[in-house]
């Protein structure tokens, strides 16, 4: 064990100390966002994209560049003159008449040698019929403007088991578009939350409290006095305050003001910036550190009550976290990341060591609540990010359109988004009923009406949206395709890496007025 640890340390040292290899250099700008763990998740992913449309290849471009493991384009069409005009991953006239999947795959594969690729020219209907396990072998399936009957079968297949791939449904017409992610649940450890974890000054751990009480501010060397970190100043000031206030922190406005004045009065020279910093951070003394409500609400999650050894590690970690928070100090485990603060090296590093030691102790206590073995590196990441944990719950594709009341309710909260959604749903339905016929505004409106409860009003933006759809029903505009390509790829990357927070529902895009929205 000791030996293998040493080897691991040595490898890490080599990886970070030497000049990076070509792969690290190539991916440098993205590794700064999702690190090696995110990169390896991408490299292990297999993506299926249905159709080789301009939107499909735009999405894939943004996934091939950062280095997914594999992609397949499923498309049995030949390149038409229309395709050759709007798709950057076709070679103009010379591609016309060739397999759209093969041409697109060939030109996309050039972007990154380490990505495996495949053109599949078979028919989706046949696959759904005879070989559905092929479809479920991917990590994520993406479908652009897919025939609604096939889409229905595909989404039902992928929804039928929680282990099946996530489905991304993309629809666009002219300047308008939307996409939807179908998944059962999506736990996130590294949400990259921008809120910093609590320093727990109101519940100072023993070593921190002892240290702050051991300092004699009055007789201290004046240079050292100027370098006491605000964390220590506040812990001490709070302890002194509590002694004369029945053990309570400052509560009223006047008390808080008096506390701050007390902190400033500790200065021995007017320009001691560490005391100014302490004053500005004083709110930490009366902000009680508890379990944040968003985290506490995760403990209600059904998966926790039916935990079995085979449940995903995330839920075992969550259960351990809940047990941890039920004991004093009734908080999340401490994290050792300290913000920078006015201090000299010695005092800052000393403080950092106190936090690190305590964080280690709490991590060990956290681990004692785990009922199954979990990899140490995952435990580390989990504890470090405990304040930003998330579990997203998704829905099946089509659930909204199957529920007229929900759709009508959505109009009251996201009127312009629903206007576009209704128009695109109407278009999909019409194209299926009357293939090859240009949809009229009247026909589209009638289709949209049938989705809503009888007698409901359309959102006020509906006529704008439906007019735009009727104007360009089959237009896969290069700019719309490129924008969707970016948005969808961002969400797919977030799903695969399990980092950052993807959308849970529909994202709607209007490129006439240039906005995006969520239903």
């Amino acid at each position: 064990m000791a030996e293998s640890l040493n080897i691991e340390n040595a490898t890490v040292t080599i990886a970070t100390d030497a000049q990076p290899d070509n792969k690290t250099r190539r991916y440098d700008r993205q590794l700064r966002l999702w690190a090696a763990t995110g990169q390896s998740a991408l490299e292990n992913s297999r993506i299926l994209v249905i159709s080789g449309s301009a939107t499909s290849t735009s999405i894939l471009k943004n996934l091939v560049l950062p280095g997914i493991g594999h992609f397949t384009i499923l498309d049995n069409e030949k390149v038409s003159p229309e395709d050759a005009g709007n798709n950057f991953f076709l070679e103009g006239q010379s591609s016309i008449g060739k397999s759209r999947a093969e041409e697109a795959v060939r030109l996309l594969a050039e972007l990154n040698d380490s990505v495996e690729s495949k053109a599949d020219t078979s028919n989706l209907e046949d696959i759904l019929e005879k070989n559905s396990s092929y479809l479920t072998s991917f990590t994520i399936v993406i479908a652009h403007n897919l025939d609604p009957k096939l889409l229905d079968r595909l989404s039902t297949l992928l929804w039928s088991d929680v282990s099946h791939p996530t489905l991304v449904v993309v629809r666009s017409a002219g300047f308008l578009a939307e996409f939807f992610i179908q998944f059962h649940e999506h736990p996130i450890i590294e949400s990259h939350s921008e809120t910093a974890p609590s320093l727990r000054l109101d519940k100072a751990f023993p070593a921190l409290l002892d240290y702050s009480l051991s300092l004699d501010f009055e007789t201290m060397d004046p240079t050292d006095h100027t370098h006491v970190p605000y964390v220590i100043i506040l812990v001490r000031a709070l302890e002194d305050w509590k002694k004369s206030h029945e053990g309570k922190p400052p509560q009223t406005y006047l008390e808080k003001k008096a506390f701050k004045e007390g902190v400033l009065a500790m200065k021995i020279k007017f320009d001691e910036e560490n005391f100014d910093e302490a004053e500005s951070q004083a709110y930490r003394c009366w902000t009680e550190t508890t379990v944040p409500s968003e985290i506490a609400s995760l403990f209600q999650y059904p998966a926790l009550s039916s935990l079995s050894p085979s449940s995903p590690p995330f839920f075992h970690l969550l259960a351990a976290l809940q047990k941890f928070t039920l004991e004093p100090p009734y908080t999340l485990p401490l994290t050792s990341t300290l913000p920078d603060m006015k201090a000299n090296t010695t005092s800052y590093i000393h403080l950092q060591k106190l936090y690190k030691a305590r964080a280690e102790e709490e991590k060990e206590r956290f681990k004692s609540f785990l009922t199954v073995p979990v990899d140490d590196s995952i435990v580390d990441t989990f504890v470090k990010n405990a304040h930003g944990l998330k579990v997203l719950r998704g829905r099946k594709w089509g659930a909204l359109d199957a529920d007229p009341t929900a759709l009508a309710n959505a109009i009251s909260t996201s009127s312009k988004q629903v206007a576009i959604h209704l128009s695109l749903s109407a278009l999909t339905a019409l194209i299926m009923k009357q293939p090859g016929v240009a949809p009229t505004i009247e026909a589209l409106t009638q289709e949209a009406q049938s989705l809503l409860p009888p007698g409901s009003e359309f959102p006020e933006e509906f006529s704008d949206a439906v007019g735009e759809v009727a104007r360009a029903p089959t237009a896969d505009l290069p700019n719309t395709a490129a924008l969707l390509g970016g948005l969808v790829a961002q969400e797919v990357i977030k799903m695969i890496t399990k980092q950052y927070v993807p959308i849970e529902s529909y994202c709607v895009v209007d490129l006439v007025e240039t906005w995006t929205g969520i239903i």
Binding site: D17, A18, Q19, T24, R25, R26, D28, R29, Q30, R32, A54, S58, N62, L65, P66, P81, E82, A84, G85, N86, N87, F88, E91, G92, E110, L111, D113, G174, F175, D340, A343, T345, Y348, I349, R471, A472, T474, A475, L477, N479, T480, A481, A482, L483, G486, L487, A489, Q490, E491, I493, Y500, V501, P502, L511, V512, E513, T514, W515, T516, I518
Partner: protein, 429 residues
Amino acid sequence: MSSQSASTSNTDWPGRYHHIDQVLNSPGPRTDPAFLAGDGVKDFLRHQAKILVIGAGGLGCEILANLALTGFKDIHVIDMDTIDISNLNRQFLFRTKDVGKPKATVAAEFIMKRVPGVKVTPYFGKIQDKDDNYYMQFNLVICGLDSVEARRWMNATLVNLVDPENPESLKPLIDGGTEGFKGQARVILPTITSCYECSLDMLNKPTAFPICTIANTPRLPEHCIEWASVLEWPRVQGDKKMDTDDPEHIGWLFSVAAARAKEFNIEGVTWSLTQGVVKNIIPAIASTNAIISAACCNEAFKIATSSAAYLNNYFMLIGTEGVYSYTFEHEKRDDCPVCGGEALELTFSADLTVEGLIEMLVEKQDIQIKKPSLSSPKSQIYLQAPPQLEEATRPNLAKRVSELVPNGGEVTVTASTLPFSLSLRITYT
């Protein structure tokens, strides 16, 4: 098919513009009534419009591809950089074999090869090399840059180009920028809408570490790296110029920073962090660049064709948590030094010295200036260059501003990094 002559249309095979033409053949419900659907607008887009792209990097590659596919056929591109291996995770017109070649040239060749009939004219050099006549030839300018300084120059140049007598002199500027999962796209109509300079205070303040922290009380790995690059490099290497693209230089800085970190028990100095700090690296991914470039090109297309109203005037996207975006009108600033016309009001103590004023200006987020020179209508207050004038005006640094400028008086600020001069109106407290 439009009725263009065979010579210009031999690459326009039937059906080529099937997708685009759907929005050019008829207006939408929100399209301006002045939109001339049909051949007129197609002819302008495909045969007359001339568009300039600044930058052939992360945004530039995307912008060029989108413009070419939407039908712009006379595209110019300026970029002063050469291709680096770290560009290949997003700058999709470049391959490993292109490393070291000029971005503008390689990008232009790629587009012309991939999209038939499009002419892309590259310029491998600086935007500052070109004069007003050059910029006058374009209908539109799209900026996809990562440098604040270059954008300020381009913005000021296009604002100054506006001649009220000549409507052709007003060149819409579309500007995009990204950082990680976030980005923004905006439309600037010089002198009419808010300009780049008007919104300078929206930029994040660059992290600067006080020299005394770096020299005496390092706490973070970044402090050790700054010590190596700001203090140790000039001390040890003398006049040798630091090249942050040279792995040997980064290696030297890394080992010096790591040694200092060890001495102070500071953890976390790595090669990657060293490079990130000294090069001020901003995370960048293909997908965000695609979103922002598409938004920029969509505005260019709408402005060039009037097929839909263009953005008024700012689109901001945050993709870290869900897809959050915000579209709003950024207000023009009356005291904008580029497009406002009014002097910037500045109030300070009558005891403030010239040196104090310079420090104050350097700190000000809404003007972002590095080494300002100051003058009043009557005299030169302090000049950073040339050396003789610097020496001659240096004694003024210790003087109070109020000795040199009356209450309510004007001070003109210039700097080599600013393509314009800034007027301040001074009030003493």
